[in-house]
Amino acid sequence: MIQRRLIPSYIFLSIVSFISVFPLFWMVTAATNNTVDVARGKIWFGDQAAVNLSNLLAGQDLWGALGNSFFYAGVQTIVAIFVCSLAGYGFELYHDKYKDKLFSVLLLAMMVPAVATMIPLFKMMAKCGFLNTVWAFMLPTISTPFLIMMFRQNSRNFPVDVIEAARIDGLSEFKIFFQMYMPIQRSTYAAAAVITFMNSWNAYMWPRVVMTDNRAQTMPMLIANLAAGYTVDYGMLMMGVLFCTVPTIIIFFILQKQFAEGITGAVK
């Protein structure tokens, strides 16, 4: 069954797996214990989950932040994959030397660190009255070189004959995109959606800059505030962290393959 020479591999992989999973397991159990037990080093489940949750709800607008995060990340995901897939499709299937030039110019945007554009973008959003709205949240990261490149790469094996046939049948260029390209590229869309949603859900620096109103805050902002005080209720904190983490973990388990594809996205 198990080969002898692989035993060191099993041991090593088991240790790494344990280290990888343990902090998350501990997060779950800590959320069910009170802060004293957590500090005392209890690592098994307790019966304080309801108390931690009610403490959390008493001090924070948990449902509001959760709703915000789902709304912002959801809208951003839909808009971003639409805009970037249009571009990726255009760059690949209509390519000529001007578009190829434009593409390499757009790639330069990868050189721009978020922290360098933060101030001008903040001023821009403030001027437009977008602060504390989904617009400020998503506008800077709808169009990304990464997603455009991913769709462009994956359009490479899109059958050109199909497009020709559709044109002869009289389908317009945009109908070809909506009715033929989008359904065929389902798996690319799925991978792009997973990675965009995760990035958007986890975003922290930019939301912290533009979502200044408490009612507009996201889950990562909420849990960061929980930990900012002098005395920290660890049970309650981990309950908050749990709420921030569970949605992405569920997506991870259901769509692990798409997530892996999304990460490696543009590399083929």
């Binding site: 571009a87 986890n202 960061a224």
Partner: protein, 300 residues
């Protein structure tokens, strides 16, 4: 296929459609990336609060101030320290894990892969807070170490400069090793099995096979993951803010964190100076991207 496509007569209508497809993404990138970075350069030569900014006198005031700013120098040192220690360890570990998981005789492959990959599903703030709690003075790690008799009394990991840095590095390793492993796994799966068989027939040891076949064939993946990791580390923010708050006394602060503090932190809105600081990060990232393009070119 390529030739046929080029040879086709493209009607004006199709041409316009082609450009229309690109328009939304292009306009957004110009407004949200290129325009702001130019704005940032102008702002870096100005002083004053956000509402009424004037040209600095002398014009390079913000830049000369930077060279005398010991906190920024610490931030820069910290960022590079994380980079130099964490990135190589992580990439070697990721490659090793991918190599082990790529063995076709290994059982429970899917289980191990999922476990190692799982940390990627946690948000940066979440895992920072988990690590902060685990390594707190009254935290689990301390309790275990004291119970085992390794430490006589609870140690303030996050309140001591050296150990706080080590914890940030450990946390980064935990969060990103599995992420990079995915790239190496994909890279390894692209290597034909026959190559290994040929090496076996020629009598190569497994170490020789790894060093002379696997590593050279993985070179593009190694370069890419290295560039990505360096880029990420240069822009490190969430961990510094949430795990250590940059402390104790700025001992773990990163460049992005310090820039944030100067622009949106506790009541200071020093946009001019922060822009000058961020321009330094921009140069580092740009140099890195440039190297990436050069290395990437030789691949094709």
């Amino acid at each position: 296929m390529e030739k046929k496509k080029r040879g086709m007569s493209i009607t004006a209508k199709q041409k316009t459609a082609g450009w229309l497809f690109l328009t939304p993404a292009t306009v957004l990138l110009v407004i949200m990336s290129f325009y702001p970075i130019i704005q940032a350069v102008f702002t870096s030569f100005k002083t004053g609060s956000s509402a009424n900014m004037q040209w600095a006198n002398p014009l390079t005031y913000n830049y000369s101030r930077m060279f005398a700013d010991t906190i920024f120098q610490t931030a820069m040192k910290n960022t590079f320290l994380y980079l130099i220690i964490q990135v190589p360890i992580m990439l070697v570990l990721a490659m090793l894990l991918a190599q082990l998981l790529n063995n076709k005789d290994l059982k429970f492959k899917g289980f191990f892969r999922t476990c190692v990959f799982l940390p990627c599903a946690t948000s940066l703030v979440s895992y920072s807070l988990i690590f902060k709690s685990l390594f707190a003075t009254q935290g689990l790690i301390n309790t275990i170490l004291v119970k085992l008799g390794i430490f006589a009394e609870n140690y303030n990991f996050l309140g001591t400069p050296t150990s706080a840095k080590v914890i940030i590095i450990l946390a980064l390793l935990w969060r990103w090793t599995g992420y990079n492993m995915v790239f190496f796994l994909a890279g390894l799966q692209n290597i034909e099995y026959s190559v290994y068989e040929a090496a076996k027939i020629d009598g190569a040891s497994s170490w020789q096979t790894f060093w002379h076949i696997t590593v050279p064939l993985l070179k593009p993946t190694i370069v890419m993951t290295a560039i990505m990791s360096i880029n990420g580390t240069l822009q490190l923010f969430d961990e510094s803010v949430n795990l250590t708050s940059g402390g104790p006394a700025n001992a773990t602060i990163t460049m992005s964190h310090y820039i944030y503090n100067n622009s949106f932190g506790n009541g200071v809105a020093n946009f001019g100076y922060a822009s000058a600081l961020s321009f330094i990060v921009f140069i580092f990232v740009a140099v890195l991207a440039f190297i990436n393009m050069k290395v990437g070119d030789t691949r094709d």
